[in-house]
Amino acid sequence: MSEFLKIENVSYSYPKSSKNAIDKVNFTVRKGEIVGIIGPNGSGKTTLMKSILNMIDYKGNIKFYDQEIKKIPRRSLSKKIGVVAQEFAPIYDMKVSEIVEMGRTPYTNLFGDLSPEDKKHIEIALEDLNIYHLKERMFYSLSGGERQIVYVAKVFAQNPDLFLLDEATVHLDIGNAQHLLLKMKERVKKFGSTIISTFHDINQASAFSDRIIIMKSGKIYATGDPQTVLTKDMIEEVYGANCEIIKDPRNGTVNVFMDLEDNSDALFCDVLKKYS
């Protein structure tokens, strides 16, 4: 079977920067997989996402359905890949239904008329996310959590095979974040969609992902299922943070707890390691 998404030796450095923002990154994603990407600020998570979207002129190869991403026209690409970023902030207030309809942009004719097919996908998106009742509301009259769900509905209406979530839960409280991630999981079950998602919150990544990719300074530091890659040493090495790892007794999900106690002992150990 051919790979769904294959990333080979992908590098990119921003203009006026001598360092590569991502450096010879390699990995593949299977169809139906949920991949979480974590790493400290500036480790290249967003740059990697932008490469997959062909928004920056990367070096290397990215193959999507065995086709080089750079050769896929933007409109065809947008039928296959949908993006949920940190927030959706239009300059004008719009009705929720108008925003969800926007997801059909790559499919509609020049004047944006909706076909029965378009309407079907809009209905599915509104129903799957339980926001049918918000349809006539104005976007900016909604709470932050509701807005992010409307944003997701727009991307559901777009009906992509691959969802890229770029820190989609970063501005949400725990309840709204849980709601969004559960809805994404439902989508994967129902449509066999694939998700690549970046996270700041390691615990969210751990609970959500089948596989985790850890990035550090533009390179893949480690990859594997959450239970194996999320270790105390890894967190310290990559983030420079002291923490404890505790497994959820119910399902084995790994959770990271930040240590705010006096860590002079740990520092002392570091010094010993360095000079021994």
Binding site: R74, Y92, L110
Partner: protein, 334 residues
């Protein structure tokens, strides 16, 4: 197909707006009863002097106003979506003053050296309109974004610069300060049928064009990246809007001078009334912009007889407070 109630309201109000526009023909230095006006328009018998005033003087002037208002409003509307800034418009961005400078340059060259140059007036207006917008755009750009403050400030500078250029050219070339006010504050006086045809074609074409890209404009309202995720070729789209908008503005300016604030407040008003979907807000802002100019021109030509007030004065008197209102509201929202 009527999609929702807002679109319905638009189509219902349309005939009333058209009747209002035609009723403006009645007013001017000489009042002609409205009934008489409609009689003349449908070809019934009216006194010859009235007929000449209505069909040769006032009708072309009103149609020109309609076209100019529509062109400036749809351009403003498209610029606002493109730049993700509800305060953008051809006047604020300096397109209008750049275009006026170009038009006058062609006129001065025609007057002093080559009389044929007057036919290239709108091409000159187009070129200098492009120069002016590019200047505003690049001066205000900060890391791929156009912050409101920078955009307005650089627009002010570009406006002042080309405004000075206009005055200089007029005084140097014509030695006649009177025409300065025509160009800098706009006027529809002296409108002839050839102006109406040129502006009419360009403004109808621009409304149709901007309606046809309405779904892309809708997508751009949430930012360039979001638009790209939805399959929009953003750079290509921006360039097209930029060129088309500048072209229709240039044609409008070369027939009627700089008329400010229309392109700013009318799209805003149409979004308030009919929602922000560009498929409705484009034709709606065209109609509202046209009506606004026609109404302002009626005041300009009939309230101060025997002299005439430049129309830009009136649009500015109404537009400036609305501009301040939008700016204040925006600051509160951010």
């Amino acid at each position: 197909m009527v999609k929702n109630s807002r679109e319905g309201i638009f189509w219902i109000t349309l005939p009333f707006i058209l009747i209002f526009i035609l009723a403006n023909i009645a007013f001017g230095p000489v009042y002609i009863p409205v009934l008489e006006v409609f009689k003349a328009l449908v070809g019934m018998k009216v006194p010859l002097t009235d007929k000449i005033i209505i069909l040769q003087l006032r009708l072309p002037r009103i149609l020109l106003g309609l076209g100019v208002g529509a062109a400036l409003s749809v351009t403003g509307n498209a610029f606002q979506a493109m730049l993700k800034n509800p305060l953008a418009d051809p006047y604020i961005l300096g397109v209008s003053s750049g275009a006026a400078f170009g038009a006058i340059l062609a006129n001065v060259i025609a007057q002093l050296y080559y009389p044929n140059f007057v036919f290239y007036m709108w091409i000159f207006a187009f070129v200098f309109g492009l120069v002016a917008t590019s200047l505003t755009y690049f001066v205000s750009r900060r890391g791929g974004k156009l912050p409101t403050t920078e955009l307005i400030l650089s627009g002010v500078i570009v406006n002042l610069m080309f405004g000075a250029g206009v005055t200089f050219l007029i005084v140097y070339g014509w030695r006649d300060v009177q025409v300065t006010s025509f160009w800098l504050l706009g006027s529809l006086s002296g409108a002839g049928w050839h102006d109406v045809i040129l502006v009419g074609i360009s403004s109808i074409a621009s409304v149709v064009f901007f309606m046809s890209i309405s779904k892309y404009l809708n997508a751009m309202v949430a930012g360039e990246e979001e638009a790209a995720y939805l399959g929009v070729n953003v750079e290509m789209m921006k360039l097209t809007i930029f060129v088309v908008g500048t072209l229709v503005t240039a044609i409008a300016v070369s027939t009627s001078g700089i008329i400010g604030f229309v392109g700013l407040i009318m799209p805003h008003m149409s979004r308030r009334l009919f929602g922000s979907d560009h498929k409705i807000s484009m034709p709606a802002s065209a109609i509202l912009g046209g009506t606004f100019i026609v109404a302002c021109d009626t005041v300009a030509r009939s309230a101060f007889t025997p002299s005439e007030m430049p129309i830009g004065t009136i649009t500015a008197l109404i537009g400036a407070p609305i501009f301040i209102y939008i700016l204040r509201r925006r600051v509160q929202n951010v």
